[in-house]
Symmetry: C2
Subunit: 93 residues, 2 copies
């Protein structure tokens, strides 16, 4: 994944973590639209999230990291379903 996207994600997440406002969530939602346009899979979002949280809050207990690993695994099939959407959209062109 492009380093720039990871940095942007970390920054947007960090702002949210500090204040948790509606405005922060709105920025996050807009960013997620951009991620979808760039074909970033949902499991990649979780990986990026885990890395960002590790950098911001590295001292959290191990169960937190294991929990993200499980979520990544859960999202892989969602990513495949989204790829199918891409193919279907292409067929329609």
């Amino acid at each position: 994944m492009v380093q720039e996207i990871e940095n942007q994600y970390k920054e947007i997440l960090n702002e949210y973590m500090k204040k948790q406002t509606e405005q922060n969530l709105y920025v996050g939602q807009n960013f997620s639209r951009q991620l979808i346009l760039e074909n970033i899979a949902p499991e990649d979002v979780i990986s990026m999230h885990k890395v960002a949280i590790q950098e911001l809050y590295g001292e959290l207990p191990d169960v937190v990291w294991h929990s993200f690993d499980f979520l990544i695994e859960m999202m892989i099939n969602y990513g495949l379903a989204l790829q199918e959407r891409q193919s279907l959209l292409k067929q329609q062109e």
Copy 2:
């Protein structure tokens, strides 16, 4: 969401958290296929995950719960993209 699915998720997650084996991940991946078939959105998976982790590890710092809330928000547009897939598949029938 059906309570039974939430309970199943929590059980599968709990097994993974205890041992983190390949076998546990395999069970998780199979379960995620079932969730997609039942049209459970990715943001609902994160919500369910948050609830399960709260029940299993309620003492974690607040940043963990905030971090899941942000992820839920990030997944909403992914859920919408998946709904589009459903419509496209129906059009093809």
